[in-house]
Symmetry: C2
Subunit: 190 residues, 2 copies
């Protein structure tokens, strides 16, 4: 059975290489540069090999997205537990979200702009995604008051997402972006 174990291990390694190569390529040159031919050349296999691991290019992007969900969830968690007041928690979480989007634009794109075939607001959603949402929710919860916590969480998330996407597509005045994030947070703390 050792020989089969080796093959499985090598196959898993190749799959990892596909994913990390896709992510690196996307972060370096954007998702448009991540083509099946390019990816295949990069891992030094032929195109059809990709399809023995994934259903298609979208599925590869989805796996990268899930990786991103995990990293974001971790960052949001650290931001939240590092706060001393509920208000500070919201502020830190909001800033962590915005910073993450700025630091990893391609990753953010896979997570929240492209890759529609992932389930989102359901129990079938990836665990890491639910964890990230949970961090946001946990931060908002003490400040909900009469408002429904999920509505509040989704709205705050929507606000952050909107700022992030308008900023990244150069639709906002760049010089006021920071002030906008500040104001958004203020409106959800008050």
């Amino acid at each position: 059975m050792s020989i089969q174990a080796r093959k499985e291990r090598e196959r898993a390694e190749r799959e990892r290489r596909i994913i990390t190569t896709a992510r690196e390529l996307a972060e370096a040159e954007g998702w448009d540069a991540v083509t099946t031919r390019r990816l295949a050349a990069e891992i030094e296999y032929s195109q059809p090999v990709l399809y023995s691991h994934f259903k298609g290019l979208d599925a590869i992007m989805a796996v990268v997205a899930v990786e991103g969900f995990a990293e974001l969830a971790q960052l949001l968690h650290e931001a939240r537990v590092g706060a001393t007041t509920p208000e500070q928690a919201v502020e830190r979480v909001g800033r962590a979200y915005s910073d993450f989007a700025d630091a990893h634009p391609a990753l953010y794109e896979a997570m929240f702009i492209r890759a529609v075939d992932l389930p989102f607001a359901t129990p079938q959603a990836p665990e890491a995604l639910q964890a990230g949402y949970g961090e946001l929710r946990e931060a908002m919860s003490p400040l909900a008051g009469d408002d429904n916590v999920d509505v509040l969480t989704e709205t705050f998330w929507g606000g952050l997402h909107g700022m992030v996407t308008l900023q990244r597509s150069r639709r906002l005045n760049p010089s006021t972006y920071g002030a906008c994030i500040d104001l958004l947070i203020k409106r959800f703390i008050g």
Copy 2:
């Protein structure tokens, strides 16, 4: 000069037909269905004709987007002037924006998600776009208080845009979407 006038008129009509066909096709089947071959077939000319009118497919989408800016600006204006209080103005404008996005998803996509080659937060931006922003700004202005009006306007816009885009890509719980819009507006009125 009458013969040349006729030719110019016919050429302008053909250009209009390209634009309206692109928009109709996009609204009916999404922008992915708007290909040069499809568009050419629809207007009953060959592909290269498109390039005698526009630099490329992106330019066609940009023209559709500008059309959308004008329509949105008109809707926002009507919403704003139909209000009796500053708070109601913000509420009506916010709802008009969200309703517009829901009613014309492909148009909204061209305006605020794709088509990056249009100038946005500068004086070179299309007039209709500036007009739309102006309506938003006018609505927010009375409620700015100590906050910078442009920062407030961009932030409110960002919030709306975020809700709209997360909703359209099915990343939100559909049953709470309305409540989220309500809450967002409330947070910017209070």
